[in-house]
């Protein structure tokens, strides 16, 4: 693997250099204790050590609110939105985040491939960065190492406070072409970083757990604490559900149709015009959320649809922990297995 050393102090210069390719998006401070992906205006403001951004990178491919068309009520006609996209470099992306984009690709491009998503996704370059897991990260448990480099063009691995820069694709190579503040070194993949939060089983054993967990008592325990605010799903990097609404201007002559992120945790999500609600109780909705992550798509694609970023847990006001739920289901399953095993 092509590998260079890069001093921490030279990272802003690298970010400036990446700007030659296009718009650079990177993590920035937000509020008191949070982070968000923003367009880089001043490379010294980019944060290299962060736990997770409030919203996932998804927001830049599938925006929280997106105009689909303008329409005229007078003429009963509409104007399509002509989306033009510029080249973008996403800098300082964690491995689980990259993996979530690859999963989102499948969700938005399989079956009916969506053009707006496709256009935003094309001409994107990704520069990864290693991270120190906090109390909420558990991506290793879903098969994503900190140094997982799939999908990245470049990757910055922090070693002794400075970085090793790995070149992972031709696109990556051309991104750093002409950048002088690096020198060739031998790659040493650090293995010192430990995850504090873990799911007890290997992820390939989880589909079996979920096969028998549908009527588990755990769902009712979760529903007792859950207030249905939707924070878990709205901040989830692999969730992609949306609603479509029409907004009419004050003149009542024209307006626009837009789509907005929606959440299956909201009580109205599965309600039809006649009033029937197909997932009326919180218990049904919390279960649906986890089955979406570990069973339904997983059965077809062989991968958990959770990347272990820890957002749903870190941002849940009620402190509901996704890995804890999974661990409780595992424990319940073990009890059932134990109970039914003949002991000799």
């Amino acid at each position: 693997m092509e590998c260079y050393s890069l001093l921490r102090a030279d990272v802003p210069a690298l970010i400036d250099h990446l700007g030659k390719f296009g718009e650079v998006v990177a993590p920035h401070r937000k509020g008191d204790v949070s982070y968000s992906f923003e367009s880089v205006l001043d490379s010294s403001q980019v944060v290299l050590d962060y736990n997770r951004t409030l919203l996932p990178l998804k927001k830049l491919f599938l925006p929280p609110v997106e105009k689909l068309m303008d329409f005229s009520l007078k003429n009963m006609s509409f104007d399509p939105v002509e989306l033009t996209t510029q080249p973008r470099v996403f800098f300082g992306v964690h491995s689980y985040e990259m993996q979530s984009i690859l999963r989102l690709d499948h969700s938005m491009l399989s079956g009916n491939a969506e053009s707006n998503y496709f256009k935003r996704r094309k001409n994107s370059r990704f520069v990864g960065i290693s991270f120190e897991p906090d109390d909420f990260h558990f991506s290793e448990s879903v098969g994503i190492a900190i140094e997982e480099m799939e999908g990245f063009d470049l990757f910055l691995n922090e070693i002794d406070d400075d970085f090793q820069l790995y070149v992972l694709s031709d696109n990556g190579r051309s991104l750093i072409q002409g950048f002088k503040q690096i020198r060739t070194v031998e790659a040493e993949l650090s293995g010192k970083r430990e995850f504090k939060k873990k799911i007890r089983y290997h992820y390939n054993r989880l589909p079996r757990i979920f096969q028998y967990a549908y009527k588990s008592k755990v769902w009712a325990d979760v529903a007792e604490k859950c207030v249905g605010c939707g924070a878990c799903t709205l901040t989830c990097p692999t969730c992609f559900c949306f609603d479509v609404t029409d907004e009419v201007s004050v003149t009542a002559e024209d307006g626009l149709r837009q789509r907005t992120w929606d959440s299956c945790m909201l009580s109205t999500f599965a309600e039809v015009a006649g009033g029937e609600n197909f997932r009326e109780k919180t218990i049904n909705r919390t279960r649906h959320r986890l089955y979406r992550k570990f069973k339904y798509i997983t059965d077809e694609e062989g991968l958990p649809w959770c990347v272990g970023c820890g957002r749903c847990t870190a941002f849940c006001p009620a402190g509901i922990s996704l890995p804890d739920i999974v661990n409780e289901l595992i424990q319940e399953d073990e009890k059932a297995q134990y109970h039914h095993t003949v002991r000799v």
Partner: protein
Amino acid sequence: MKPQVAFFDFTSCEGCQLNKLNLENDLLDILKHVDIVEFREAMDDKADHYDIAFIEGSISSPSCVERIHDIRRRSDILVALGSCAVNGGINAMKNLHPIDEVRETVYGKDKYLFATLPAMAVSSVVKVDYEVRGCPMNQQDFLKLLIALVLGKQAPKYNSPVCVECKLKENECLYNRGMVCLGPVTRGGCDALCPSFGQFCTGCRGILSNPNLDGMLEIMTNHGISLDEAKKRMLLFNSNEVQL
């Protein structure tokens, strides 16, 4: 002919009416759709029939009851405007205390001179067709309803929590800033105005239907306030809606 529209105020601070006058940019567009025939804050005129009557304030005295019945009779569509009208709002806090005690506190020895009732939502007295929630009522919300009525479209209903709009705007959660916020169980539609400016949600748009109130109280007490204080916060705008 354009719909004849009127505005009336009951027990309230009239802030909602002022909020409408602040719609300077859109007022002229609104007047293309409707004729405003009664609006105490802006003009002086009377009519026998209204296509749409907007009601601000809660119903809290026998004379209020009489007046709202009279307005209902003259109106095709009646809209409750703002928290006080929609669910009694802040005024309904008085309902948590014995009415006699409340009268004595406010009027002292003259308490028998002033008839009073528990502060009620307009809908507990007459049929309300639509509502615009919030304290004060949200301007955009009001405009959307007006457009919906002009187009014959059903008014937007808000039964998703404030958290949704907060998340879409990528606001830092106020719980992460050590505050206790009612966003998780409060009806959205306000574009998460308060949390966006660092102010916790006080629940002015009312509590969601089928809320998990015990879960919410647990969240609040887990974030450092007493159960008593948590209940008080939840009741601030929702004394008539929430049983704690």
